[in-house]
Structures are given as structure tokens and as C-alpha cells.
């Protein structure tokens, strides 16, 4: 078994009102970042998991996302980084 460190992005699903993202976008406009369009605030979760092979490690993290790390009603997730330890 190898250990992998897997980073997942969990973000609000497009189309769902994201007042936090809107507030950040307004603050960026106030700071003069005129080119800023929409902003979405999510979370980045890093899981250290033992599995083999690498595909199985990724699949187990996807399963974690479906069951706990992301809310299937309002959030999407994607694996952002996979690092063998």
C-alpha cells in the first residue's frame, strides 16, 4: 500500500446563490480589481490515505466526497492534486 496525499476542491454548485462569493467580489471591486467577475468561495480539503493503486486512492476520496465531504444537493467537488508520499 502506498500513501497518497489528495487535495479536493469543494465548491458551491453553479447557479446556487453564493452570498459569500458576492461579498468577496464586491470587496475586490472596492479594492480596484475592476476585471473581477464572479467569485465563488469553497473549501480545499487534504486527505492522506493509504491505498493501492493510485486510482483506488482517488476513488476512495471521491467516495468520501459523495458521503461526507461535499453536500450532493448544493456542492460540486473535484480532485485537484494527488501526491504519492
Amino acid at each position: 500500500m502506498t500513501r497518497f496525499r489528495i487535495g479536493v476542491h469543494v465548491v458551491p454548485r453553479r447557479g446556487i446563490l453564493d452570498p459569500q462569493g458576492q461579498a468577496v467580489a464586491e470587496a475586490l471591486h472596492t479594492l480596484g480589481f475592476a476585471g473581477v467577475g464572479t467569485v465563488h468561495v469553497g473549501r480545499h480539503i487534504v486527505v492522506d490515505v493509504a491505498a493501492a493503486p493510485r486510482d483506488a486512492a482517488e476513488e476512495s476520496v471521491r467516495d468520501m466526497c459523495r458521503k461526507l465531504l461535499a453536500n450532493p444537493v448544493t456542492e460540486d467537488f473535484e480532485i485537484a492534486t494527488v501526491e504519492a508520499l
Binding site: 446556487i16 446563490l17 452570498p19 444537493v73
Partner: protein
């Protein structure tokens, strides 16, 4: 009738619920510890308000895996009544007992205030004592209460009569100015398909005596008594 009030680490409305059930309504109540697997033969399970597990990850997301929730879900699947208030509503959604999700208030602020609740469905085991379309005065206190689901899911919810309460104005109408958290379609409380699980963000257990500012929440408990005891 015996009420079982679940105490999670971080629950803070369990005492309020206990007081409402025992001192105000005059029924029996026990606290059920979240690590227990025993519902102690209660008739009604209350998932109370609070900040279970510090709202880590998402409000209710961790509490939903507490040992007692296996029993609470089995109780609900048998048709047993579950009253899920505030954090309890969040837990019930996370556990799949109710559809949808409760997101950060659109105001981005914790809202602690009195609201007007319109009784949309007065034919559930939790609302039978209310007059249809009556307007209740009940407090809210939450940071994540914006009820959200897909438009199709909301259409189904409305079509099946599962919307129990909405935030309304003095005329009883849904109105953005009367909606404290940006809930879609002003939804404040819903029942499950089977009608035996009620989730609501407002706190009926904090409005059971005129001394508290309102006794409008008593109807939820009295409705249960009338229906479950029958």
C-alpha cells in the same frame, strides 16, 4: 406521551425543548445521549438546535453520523415522529430524512429575531392544531438557514404539500422583506414525504408561554399530542 431529546456535543436547545415538553405541555421527556443506541421507547424524537460538532465541515454534517442517528433514522422509517428544529433541521437534511440543504444566510449574518410564520399545511401531525393560513410569531436564531434545493425538487415539495411553514409578511404573503435568510420560496419548515418528520429553522420550543413573548409554538407540541395519542 414520551419525548426523547437528543443531546449532541454542542446542542444548546435541548434544555429549552425539555422545558417546553415537561413544564409547559406536561408530557414526559428524556435526554438521549448522541453515543447511545437506545431510543428508550420514546414516541417522538426531538433533534434540537445548537451547534453540534461546532458546525465543522457543514452544519449538521458530522452529527448526522452520531451513533444514535442510526436509531433515529430507523424510527423515522417506521413512521415515528421526528421534530427537527434549527440545527436539528440541518442534521435531518444531512441525514437524508428531509430533502434539500440549509446554507449560509443570504445576509451573511447570524439572524436572531422574531419572525412571522405562515402555516401553509395545517393537515400534518405537527400542525393539525393550527388554523390553515394562520400567522405565528416564533423566534429564529441561526447563521445557516437558507433553505435550498433544485427548482424541480421545490416544485415537487410544494405539489406534495410538504411545505409546512413559510416566512410571511403581516398580510400572510411571501415577501423578500419578510424572509430573514434568503430561503428559496420563503420556506421555513417542511415535512418528509411520509409526513412524520418536521424540519423547521424557527424555534417553537422557545415560544410556549406568553412570558417568553409568544405561545404560538405550543401548537406544534399540541398537534403531536392530539395526533400521536389518538
Amino acid at each position: 406521551m414520551k419525548f426523547g431529546i437528543v443531546t449532541f456535543p454542542g446542542s444548546n436547545c435541548d434544555y429549552d425543548a425539555f422545558h417546553a415538553v415537561t413544564d409547559e405541555i406536561g408530557e414526559e421527556a428524556v435526554y438521549l445521549w448522541h453515543k447511545s443506541h437506545d431510543l428508550e421507547d420514546v414516541d417522538v424524537v426531538v433533534l434540537p438546535g445548537g451547534f453540534s460538532y461546532g458546525d465543522y465541515l457543514r452544519a449538521g454534517a458530522i452529527a448526522r453520523f452520531s451513533p444514535i442517528m442510526t436509531e433515529v433514522i430507523a424510527h423515522a422509517e417506521r413512521g415515528g415522529p421526528v421534530l427537527a428544529v434549527c440545527n436539528g433541521f440541518q442534521i435531518a437534511c444531512e441525514a437524508g430524512l428531509l430533502p434539500g440543504a440549509l446554507l449560509r444566510n443570504s445576509t451573511l449574518r447570524f439572524q436572531s429575531q422574531w419572525v412571522r410564520l405562515g402555516v401553509e399545511n395545517a393537515d400534518t401531525m405537527f400542525t393539525g392544531k393550527y388554523e390553515p393560513r394562520s400567522i405565528l410569531r416564533i423566534p429564529i436564531a441561526h447563521g445557516e438557514g437558507r433553505y435550498t434545493d433544485g427548482e424541480d425538487a421545490l416544485d415537487r415539495l410544494e405539489g406534495e404539500g410538504q411545505v409546512a411553514f413559510r416566512y410571511v409578511n403581516a398580510s400572510g404573503e411571501v415577501d423578500p422583506s419578510a424572509n430573514p435568510n434568503g430561503s428559496m420560496r420563503g420556506i421555513a419548515g417542511i415535512v418528509s414525504r411520509g409526513g412524520n418528520v418536521l424540519g423547521m429553522m424557527p424555534h417553537p420550543e422557545r415560544a410556549v408561554d406568553p412570558l417568553l413573548g409568544s405561545a404560538d409554538g405550543r401548537g406544534v407540541f399540541e398537534s403531536l399530542l392530539a395526533r400521536v395519542a389518538a
